[in-house]
Structure formats: C-alpha cells, structure tokens
C-alpha cells in the first residue's frame, strides 16, 4: 500500500507539475495561435522578451511589407496587488484601434475608447480576485487611481486574470513614451516556411537590432516558461527517483519473503522467465494502481490550485492527454525498473536453496 502511495505521489507530481507547466505554455501559445500570429518582433539581445522596448512607429513600415496581413503592437507590464496576494498580474496597454478589443466579450460596462485616461477594463478573474465591479477604483503603481469601466471575458486565460489600459496611459505610467514591448505579425495565408523566413528577414532589415521569431519558437523561449518546465521536470524526477527506490525496496522484500513460494514454483516446473514475468507483472500492477490514483490526485490538486486567486488568472487547470500518458509511462517505467533486479534474483535462486530458506 505504501509503495502504491509512493508511486501515486510520483505520478501525481508528474501530472500536476508537468500538467501545469504544459498548460502554462499552452495558454501562452494560444495567445498567438488563436490570433493567427506568425511572427513576434522584439528587440534583439533583451533578456525579458516581454519588455524589450521598440518604437511604436515601427508598426507602420512593418504593416506595409508585402505579405503582412496585420500588425499589432502593445506594451505589457506585470503589476502586483500584494494585499490580495496577487503577483505578476499582466497589464496590457493597447492602442484604441487595436483589433484585439474585438475578441473581448463585455460582461459588464464597456470597452476602452480613445481618450479614456485613468480608465481601465479588467478580466472577470481579476475582478473576482480583487472584488471589483464597474465604477470601482483600482490603484496602479501605488500612485494613480484608475476607474473600472468594464469587465470582460477573453478567450486567453492570461487576459482574464489581467487588465487593459490604453497604450498611451501605460506608456505614461511606465515612463516609456512612444515605446512598445513588441509587435505581433500575422502573414497573408497561405504561406510556407520559406516565405515566412523571407518575411522575417525583410522585417529585420527595417531597423537594426530587431529580433523576429516565429511564434512557437518565441513561446518556447520565454524565460518563465522554460523555467517552469525545467522546475516541473526536475521536481518530478526527484519524486520519480524516490518512487523507484520505494518500488525496488518493496519488490526486494516481496521476493525475499516469498523465496519458498518461488522455490516451490521452480520445483514444480515453472521456468525462470515465468517467475520473472510474475514478479514484474505484480510490480506493474502496483504501478498502474499508483498511476490511476496519482493521476486523479494530480488533476484534483490542479483544479483546486487554479481556483486560488494567485493562480486562477495564469493557468487554466486543464491537463492535456499527453501529460496523463507521460504519467502512466513513467509509472510503468518505475515499476519495471524497480522490479527487474529482484525478479532476476528470485528467478535464479536454486529451488533447493529457496526451499531451504526460513
């Protein structure tokens, strides 16, 4: 039972940690996939891709390039609401004519319009976490109050946990006049990889110091996502090693306590291979049991955690099938790895020796 629990913890760690990390990346990727973004333009050499700093005016020459369907530029920052335990809340600054406003579903109030100074719209998750409604004030950067004029729902989980002000307002607050974090570029379809690479080169030629990345590569290289994935796998690996040691210990004890039984089976004609199959089979059954319990526990844990304010605006709580498959495969691997040695040891005992043991 303890072995099954140990394995369940290991699998639960894989499912929950890797699931959250993968979900984090998938949610981020969805921003670009759902908006048909092909390229992301940022400043080259910047460490934080989300805050690289480009001139706002660069958007026009990019839009005029052949093959470009749409260019969207914006400023992004991350703010804290420490009193509510919310850290790293995404604050977007969009120009008033930004096409992304069209994707938001207004739940209460209205969207931002040109000239809306000290006005803010917030996602439904942030509204719930802050306990704010239309007409309430939110203090930004510890100094300025912004009036909530609308609460929206976005197809992007990050945006539901974030807020949006006009680009000019965020540029003012961040002291970044005429500056944006980057541009997202949608190409005219259909387009093949070679043509996309050509377009990226032409964008780079517009100004020195530009980095143009395909959206999937951009997401995969976001520092926070890489760290999240690495931490998830390292932590899971530790849990798995502990699970494997537990399994090895259990199977060694099991075989040791059953040497007479194994000796009897060998005496009455069971082949070594059948003994090995039996012991590894038992271990795999334990593993699958642990995997089922661990997967269920991992899902429950993630669902619970994503309801917490600090997480609800960042991860969706959905775990992909691929993560479950990984969890089961890992459990099977641990079960096999932890039982091979005791299985071979037990099967190679001489029947007379095995029957003689107490």
């Amino acid at each position: 039972m303890l072995t099954v629990i140990g394995l369940a913890v290991a699998v639960g760690a894989v499912v929950s940690l890797v699931g959250v990390s993968t979900g984090f990346k998938d949610s981020f990727m969805k921003i670009y996939e759902s908006r048909d973004v092909d390229l992301v333009v940022t400043r080259a050499g910047g460490n934080e891709a989300l805050n690289s700093g480009l001139p706002e005016q660069l958007g026009d020459p990019i839009a005029k390039l052949k093959g470009v369907k749409q260019v969207v530029g914006g400023l992004v920052d991350a703010i804290d609401f420490r009193d509510q335990g919310l850290l790293g809340v995404i604050l977007n600054g969009w120009p008033p004519n930004c096409p992304l406003f069209g994707e938001l579903k207004v739940l209460h109030g209205k969207l931002l319009a040109p000239g809306d100074e000290h006005k803010i719209i917030i996602g439904r998750v942030l509204a719930a976490n802050l306990g704010k409604k239309v007409g309430d004030k939110i203090e930004l950067y510890g100094s300025e109050d912004f009036e909530v004029i609308g609460i929206y729902e976005s197809p992007i989980v990050y945006e539901n946990g974030g807020a949006i002000v006009l680009l000019s307002e965020l540029q003012r607050l961040d002291n970044k006049p005429n500056e944006i974090s980057g541009f997202t570029v949608s190409a005219v379809k259909p387009i093949d990889d070679q043509s996309l690479d050509d377009l990226a080169e032409r964008i780079k030629e517009l100004q020195p110091g530009l980095k143009v990345t395909k959206s999937k590569e951009f997401v995969n290289n976001v520092q926070q996502i890489k760290m999240s994935s690495a931490v998830a796998w390292i932590t899971s690996a530790i849990a798995l090693i502990i699970g494997a040691i537990g399994m090895l210990n259990t199977m060694i004890m099991s075989v040791f306590e059953r040497t007479k039984e194994i000796g009897t089976l060998r005496a009455i004609g069971w082949r070594r291979s059948r003994i090995i199959q039996m012991i590894i089979g038992e271990s795999l059954l334990l593993s699958i049991g642990g995997a089922i319990i661990g997967s269920a526990a991992g899902v429950a844990l993630v669902k619970l955690l994503t309801k917490l304010p600090i997480a609800s605006g960042i991860v969706s709580g959905e775990i992909s099938t691929g993560v479950f498959v990984q969890g089961f495969l890992v459990a099977i691997l641990v079960g096999a790895a932890g039982s091979i040695y005791p299985a071979v040891w037990g099967a190679n005992l001489l029947p007379t020796e095995a029957l003689r043991r107490k």
Binding site: E261, R266, A267, I268, G269, W270, R271, L350, L355
Partner: protein
C-alpha cells in the same frame, strides 16, 4: 558401476529403467562437506521405492538430485536413458516428468485448492478451461473435490497434503518424488496419503520414490534403499540390520 538389481522387487525385473544414478557425488563448501559419495542405483518404471536413513545421511540430497532440483558435483543421472546434464530445459523436463510432494506441502497460500493444482499446467500450454477441468478431476481423485474453492488455511493438514498430491499429478508425470509426505500429518491423514500412494502405484502405474523416517511408510514400498553417511548400504542383510537398529 554398483549393481543393486538383487534388491529389486521381482515384479519389476523386466521393467525399463526410468532413473539411473551413476557414481554420483555431491559436495558443498568447496568440497569440505560431502553429502553424497559415489552413489549408484537404478529405479525401474513402476517401482515403489523408499529411501531411509538417519538425519544428515544424504537422503534429501539424493531426492533433490533425482528431482533435478540440484546438480551433482560428479557423476551422472539418466532419465529414461537420457543424461540429465545434457538437458537444456530442466524446468520443462521437471514440469512434465516429475511430480513433487513435500513434507510441508508448499501450497501457495493466496490461491484456492483448484488454483494451486493448476500451477504446474501453466508450462504445458493448456487453456484455462482445460486447466480448470483437469484440476477438478484431480481433486476428485484425491477426494478433495468438495473443497476445491477453499484456501489452504481453511484446510486440515491432511487435506492440504492431498491437494499437494493432486498438484503433483497435474501434468501426469511418470515419476513422483515425495519428501517425508506424512511427516507433518496425524496417523489417520498419514494413512489416507499412503493409501493414495498405493493407488497411484498399483492402479496408475506411477513410479514412486519416497523419503521417510517412518518404517510404516517404508513398509508400503516394494524396495527400501538405506543411506548412511552419504552412501547406499549395499546388501539386503545389512539393510535389515539397519532397520532393526532404528
């Protein structure tokens, strides 16, 4: 090679040799302990042989070698004329040719009687239905059909030994080896087991080799082989003296 044919029961003089032991020795601990020393004997098909001797005489070692549970240090054993040292798959051989009955029964505690009886059949390729059918037949034969679904812990010692005998017969082996089969039984259960052995010998033509301390058990056998200090007592007269002395 020592010839012990004068010790054979007359009825088996013409029967083929099923087991032949040719100058077999078994030593342990790098040769410092000699369990068997230069032993030779023949067992003919259909014989009922008892092997007797004091503790530490080498009886169990001999049984283990006869049953291919162990290998001799020197010498050779032959089964139906084939040298066992040249058999590649001893496990398969044991499964089909030899049935074991142990003093402590060695039934698997988590399996029912009918499941225990099926265990040797896994190596024969029998289907589950075939295994179950044969297991029930064997349990009926040993008068345990009504207890087929009971676990060993729910059976008396006599009943457990009968299930163990049924298991030993699972693949219809020609040879049965029994190590102190009545050692842990009361007299009534012991008599039941001996009756079963008699029936297997006379009605089913099984070759039986029984290790025993008990004269009562040995008296059921057609031939008694005495072992002392790792060697076989040769003459019939000396064997009689040994029996009287014990």
């Amino acid at each position: 090679m020592n010839n012990h044919s004068h010790l054979l029961h007359p009825s088996h003089n013409g029967a083929p040799v099923i087991l032949q032991v040719d100058r077999v020795s078994r030593t342990y601990a790098d040769g410092s302990v000699t369990a068997l020393n230069d032993v030779s004997l023949e067992i003919r098909r259909g014989e009922y042989v008892a092997i007797m001797g004091p503790s530490g005489s080498g009886k169990s070692t001999l049984l283990n070698l006869l049953g291919t549970l162990d290998r001799p240090t020197t010498g050779e054993l032959y089964f139906e004329g084939h040298p066992l040292s040249q058999l590649r798959d001893l496990d398969a051989f044991r499964s089909r040719k030899i049935g074991f009955v142990f003093q402590s029964f060695y039934l698997l505690p988590t399996l029912t009687a009918v499941e225990n009886v099926q265990i040797p059949m896994f190596e024969t390729g029998a289907t589950p239905a075939q295994r179950v059918k044969r297991a029930y037949e064997l349990l009926e034969m040993v008068s345990m059909g009504h207890r087929a679904t009971h676990l060993p812990a729910q059976l008396s010692v006599g009943e457990r030994q009968r299930v163990a005998i049924a298991r030993a017969l699972a693949n219809d082996p020609p040879l049965l080896l029994a190590d102190e089969p009545t050692g842990n039984l009361d007299s009534r259960s012991g008599n039941d087991v001996l009756s079963l052995f008699d029936e297997l010998h006379t009605q089913r033509g099984k070759t039986l080799i029984v290790i025993t301390h008990s004269q009562e058990v040995a008296d059921h056998a057609e031939r008694i082989i005495w072992i002392r200090d790792g060697g076989i007592v040769h003459s019939r007269a000396e064997a009689l003296k040994q029996r009287e002395a014990v």
